[in-house]
């Protein structure tokens, strides 16, 4: 049962966690991209891309994912207030890597009321804006299986990743001054386990596996939804960021913004692109040229020297004002 690979019903909890010590199967050799490390050598091997599929149509908004996430990652989300919503904590934080966002929707076509509940968190973009924006070498890495991970030891807490992310996910710890987000439970994946949220999810609205399998499963889910009258059901796997390793099945794929403002066509902001792209290269070039240019000019052209003539002229100019004793001398 528990090893059933049956795709139309993926078992995210394929097995129970190991308790015997075992080598961690996800390391430097698997890094395909690292922040501020332009000359990263090719990874020593190629892992199969993985993905977490969130089927919003199966989600009951129970927050088991939030709970399991906090438990596994030993975080302590604050005990806040009720602000007139089921959404608690009120927002993602350095202590809460994932969040159920609740949205009430009166469907104008059917006249039915719908409660759209979306699990928010890191999308693990194929083209991660956070990684692009990050100035600290190795603070953000992307493994060949698609997981985008924050390495706190290297993080300097500058918050550039916040500007880089098209989904407003990273949060900077006000106490440790490092950026935090969902790691897709890289420590669990490293020993062959699914993420804590996916294992906990009671209705398997969250499933984890190879991206290929998840897409197959997602298509089956979309078919089921269409058979139940959701003609616009579809997959949200935004190509603007090269696709994501966390993706959704939506009842209304044509209106992602219904799901607590899921961006319709997310991509890394042009501003960030030009900052990290043209500005950096052109800027560095200009600075380099200026430096080199001035040095060369300095070497080739002789400096602008004061001549004896200048000194004499100056002396003459100030002559009348020479003190008396000097004149007599």
């Amino acid at each position: 049962m528990t090893t059933d690979p049956n795709l139309d019903s993926p078992r995210t909890a394929v097995s129970n966690p190991p308790i015997q010590p075992m080598p961690v199967n996800l390391g430097p050799g698997d890094v395909v991209r690292a922040s501020a490390m332009p000359d990263l050598p090719a990874p020593t091997r190629e892992l199969t891309p993985v993905a977490k599929l969130i089927d919003v149509s199966k989600c009951i908004g129970c927050k088991a994912c939030q709970s399991a996430c906090a438990e596994w990652n030993d975080t302590h989300p604050e005990i806040g207030f009720n602000t007139g919503s089921y959404q608690n904590p009120a927002d993602l934080s350095d202590q809460m890597f994932t969040l159920m966002r609740f949205n009430e929707y009166e469907n104008p076509e059917t006249g039915d009321f719908e409660w759209l509940i979306r699990k928010d968190g890191c999308m693990h973009c194929e083209d991660p804006g956070c990684l692009k924006a990050c100035p600290a070498p190795g603070a953000i890495v992307q493994y060949s299986n698609g997981i985008v991970d924050f390495i706190s030891d290297n993080c300097i807490g500058c918050g550039y990743c916040v500007t880089g992310c098209p989904f407003d996910i990273p949060r900077i710890s006000p106490t440790q001054h490092v950026s935090k987000k969902c790691t897709l439970c890289s420590d669990r994946v490293a020993v062959g386990q699914g993420p804590a949220c996916a294992k906990a999810c009671p209705t398997q609205a969250i499933v984890f596996g190879t991206k290929e399998d998840m897409v197959t499963h997602a298509n089956a889910r979309v078919e089921d939804l269409k058979s139940r009258g959701y003609d616009k059901a579809g997959i949200y796997d935004p190509q603007g960021v090269g696709g994501t390793h966390v993706f959704y099945v939506l009842q209304h794929a044509d209106k992602p913004q219904l799901y607590s403002n899921l961006p319709a066509d997310p991509k890394i902001s042009g501003v960030v692109e030009s900052w990290k792209g043209v500005t950096k290269t052109v800027g560095l070039a200009a600075i380099g040229l200026a430096a080199v240019g001035s040095v060369l000019h300095g070497l080739l052209s002789r400096g602008n020297r004061v001549t004896a003539e200048d000194d004499r002229e100056a002396k003459e100019l100030v002559e009348p004002s020479l003190p008396a004793q000097d004149k007599e001398a």
Binding site: M1, T2, D8, S9, S57, K58, C59, I60, G61, C62, K63, A64, Q66, S67, A70, E71, H76, P77, E78, I79, G80, F81, N82, T83, G84, S85, Y86, N88, P89, A90, M96, E104, E106, D112, F113, E114, W115, I117, P202, T203, Q204, A205, R221, D224, S227, R228
Partner: protein, 811 residues
């Protein structure tokens, strides 16, 4: 549950009414999503609120709290009118054909025999016509005007879609759509499952709500089949077990009854049990009652229980009233008639109605003993917590002893889940500080009391001095010893009743199952239905074979399910009169010509011929009951009754208030309100982020749902000038609470005839102890009245008023 959680995957249609499975039982609800994903099953939700379950439903309709019977009877009426009936099932497996006495009748919301003085019925007319042969008379053609079917037909004829709209506030078209979906399941190869919980039980007529759906399921032929059944989603991890073991005022383990004063002696007591069959050849399993009762008494008092002293029958207390249930105990407490009270892992101050009365009652105790792993409000009821528990500490003379107990993670033992699976678990952690197991504490108390009686003597010490206590460590009996006691063992050699030479269980051996129990004192068993859970084959509850041949969801090798490891009750009813499955693709058991075989343990004698023996072996009729005779206090059919506090008068009889036979104490009657004073209907419920009053001690759950709130419609909010996230005061005739306002489109005003009914939702997880923000529970507001049959408090429908108030700003 008649079926199991994993069986839900076999259904075609799930109706969640009187519950909120996704919210309260997410991991069980998994099997609803599986059925949807793999069978294309549909999900219907009928609820006053658009719940988390509704969020993933295929069709939703709202309903006014406390009007379920109208909806259900109207559905049955629709089935009959539109011939959506599983006829072969109804004729053979229900008591539809039984002839009822002419005196039985119904008018103006009341059945025959009502006595307004006693608030009770004379139920003598609610009976079958019994012939000279001693058997009930039947008309298999269902043409007799007095047969149950025709009486039912006539009874439900009053419940029309128009009445549903008028009383329930459910739009007519919504009702008809749902009726249509349900009707499809009358086909022998289509099944519907009903998942319900306290949304149906917590009414003054809770039992009748559930009967209503049970009757519908019988008419559709959905009881005893895969993917069908009546599935009560029980609340606590071992609420089923505690009920099985009979930790209630009127129960003896295994659903035997405590004697009352009318049972002046053993013979009188037994004369009312051991029912004879009402139809020829039927099983009527309760004929074995005496075997179970004697084995229980032997388990209690061993050698002191002899034929000579009627098996120590008089050691048992005898009741003078139906029930010393918790409501009655708090009523007595409040009158100063109770001195000592024990709360073992129970927090009544937050879980029973009318908190004001509870506090006053607790304040009159001499001694309150609380055994709990956590700091409960009950243990701290005397402590002033400002507006959250504004008591005059100094004036409270109650002595309180708070004893630290272990938690689930620190002891071994078995729990019975909703599907009657008895699952064994093992301790994993060292208890914190001086925390002790309940078994150690109870032994400590008992051994001391026993010693006091040995040393000092006292009134009737026999039952205490003779209680069997032959444990290896008398200070802390092991879970294994106790489990074996529950299963039972042979005290003498036990032989086959048909073949006296065949030894079944040698003296001192565990009995294999309850078929080996005897009424001659040669066996003992603490709880007969548990027999088989720990026999000579070992601890069956610890089995972990999760193989599931053909994916039926039975898992016969996983732990043990009472009775007899049976996973689906009444499973004989899954096959027709020839013993062939109604739906070959969903075979459960079938008759192979000699015996019953299949995926489950047959719920009938394995050799009982299908055409001869009825499937409902616990009933003397051998059938199920559409008409319950005198077995329920408030009627053999469900009839519409309004809640005690309702904005609308009973359409059948404006004079009736609530359930006409529900027990009401004088002081509480005075505290019932009317809708001119309190215009809004309130209903209470759980949230998925919390478990009752435990998880507010848990920082993660407290973060997920930190603060007490109430839910109301945008329309009502606008009417009252209430803002999202603002503070409101909600008050009833019994108390007042302060909460955050959650204004939502998930609650809508309901149009009941010419009356617009606004509903206010009140979750129940907050108090004044623990990690979450301090708040209140709905029980500060709820009425002190219970169901007429089982005294479950009316938490789901009562009247309140609401207004916006100033409070510190929302962060």
């Amino acid at each position: 549950m008649t079926n199991s959680w994993t069986d839900i995957r076999n259904t075609d249609l799930v109706i969640v009414m009187g519950g909120n499975a996704a919210e309260a039982h997410p991991c069980g609800f998994k099997w609803v999503t599986e059925a949807k994903a793999h069978r294309g099953a549909k999900l219907i939700v009928v609820d006053p609120r658009f719940t988390r379950t509704a969020a993933v439903s295929d069709y939703y309709a709202h309903i006014r709290p406390g009007s379920d019977i109208v909806f259900l009877m109207a559905t049955i009426n629709w089935m009959i009118q539109n011939d959506k009936v599983q006829w072969e099932y109804v004729k053979n497996f229900t008591n539809a054909a039984f002839i009822v006495k002419d005196e039985f009748g119904w008018s103006e919301g009341l059945f025959s025999g009502y006595d307004a003085e006693k608030r009770d019925y004379d139920k003598s007319s609610w009976e079958y016509v019994v012939g000279e042969d001693g058997f009930a008379q039947v008309d298999m053609t269902l043409s007799h005007p007095r047969c149950v079917w025709n009486l039912l037909k006539e009874h439900v004829s009053r419940y029309t879609p128009e009445l549903v709209e008028q009383v329930c506030g459910t739009p007519r078209d919504r009702f008809l759509h749902i009726a249509g979906m349900i009707g499809e399941c009358s086909a022998p190869d289509k099944t519907m499952t009903s998942m319900y919980a306290l949304g149906w039980t917590q009414h003054s007529k809770g039992s009748q709500n559930i009967r209503g759906m049970a009757m519908l399921q019988l008419i559709l032929g959905n009881i005893g089949v895969r993917g069908g059944g009546m599935n009560a989603l029980r609340g606590h991890s071992n609420i089923q077990g505690l009920t099985d073991v009979g930790l209630m005022s009127n129960l003896i383990p295994g659903y035997l009854n405590m004697p009352t004063e009318k049972d002046s002696d053993w013979a009188t007591y037994m004369s009312k049990k051991g029912f004879k069959p009402l139809r020829p050849g039927q099983t009527s399993y309760w004929q074995n009652y005496q075997k179970f009762m004697v084995s229980f008494l032997k388990a209690m008092w061993g050698d002191a229980a002899t034929a000579g002293n009627d098996w120590a029958f008089d050691y048992l207390p005898k009741l003078d009233v139906a029930n010393y249930d918790i409501l009655r105990m708090f009523e007595m407490m409040d009158k100063g008639q109770v001195n000592l009270y024990f709360c073992q892992g129970f927090n009544p101050l937050l879980s029973f109605p009318n908190r004001g009365k509870l506090t006053s009652a607790l304040s009159k105790l001499k001694l309150l003993v609380v055994m709990d792993p956590l700091e409960t409000e009950t243990a701290h009821f005397w402590e002033n917590h400002g507006e959250h528990n504004d008591v005059d500490t100094a004036s409270i003379q109650t002595e309180v002893i708070e004893l630290p107990t272990t938690s689930f993670a620190e002891d071994d033992g078995s729990l019975v889940n909703s599907g009657r699976w008895m699952q064994w678990h093992w301790a994993a952690g060292t208890p914190p500080g001086q925390a002790q197991r309940d078994t150690w504490i109870m032994s400590g108390i008992f051994n001391r009391v026993k010693k006091l009686y040995q040393d000092e003597g006292g009134p009737f010490p026999d039952a205490i001095l003779n209680l069997t206590w032959n444990y290896a460590d008398p200070h802390e009996p092991s879970a294994e010893e106790l489990a074996k006691e529950l299963n039972g063992r042979a005290l003498e050699d036990v032989y086959d009743l048909k073949d006296p030479t065949k030894l079944l269980a040698a003296k001192g051996k565990q009995v294999a199952n309850f078929s080996q129990l005897r009424d001659d004192g040669s066996t003992m068993a603490g709880c007969w239905i548990f027999s088989g859970s720990w026999n000579e084959d070992g601890n069956m509850m610890a089995r972990r074979d999760n193989a599931d041949p053909d994916e039926t969801g039975a898992y016969l090798g996983w732990t043990y399910a009472w009775p007899m490891n049976r996973r689906i009750l009444y499973n004989r009813a899954s096959a027709d009169m020839q013993g062939k499955p109604w739906d070959p693709t969903r075979k459960l058991i079938e008759w192979n010509g000699e015996k019953w075989t299949g995926y489950d343990v047959p719920d009938i004698s394995p050799t009982a011929k299908p055409e001869e023996v009825g499937p409902f072996i616990m009933n003397p009729e051998g059938t199920s009951r559409l008409f319950t005779r005198g077995m329920m206090r408030d009627g053999p059919f469900p009839t519409h009754m309004e809640p005690f506090e309702s904005p609308i008068a009973n359409v059948f009889n404006p004079e009736l208030r609530g359930n006409p036979v529900a027990r009401v104490f004088a002081d509480d009657l005075a505290q019932f309100a009317t809708s001119d004073e309190f215009p809004f209907v309130a209903t209470s419920y759980r949230l998925t982020e919390h478990f009752h009053y435990w998880t507010k001690h848990n920082r993660i759950n407290s973060a997920l749902q930190p603060e007490f709130f109430v839910e109301l419609s945008a329309e009502l909010a606008a009417e009252k000038g209430i803002e999202k996230g603002g503070w409101v005061r909600v008050w009833s005739k019994r108390g007042s609470v302060k909460a955050k306002a959650l204004v939502t489109g998930r609650i809508k005003p309901m149009q009941c005839g010419d009356k617009t009914v606004h509903c206010i939702g009140i979750p129940l997880h907050w108090g004044f102890m623990g990690a979450a923000r301090k708040g209140w529970g709905p029980n500060s507001l709820t009425p002190f009245v219970g169901d007429a049959n089982v005294e479950t408090p009316e938490f789901k429908a009562f009247l309140v008023n609401i207004e916006p108030i100033k409070g510190e700003a929302v962060s």
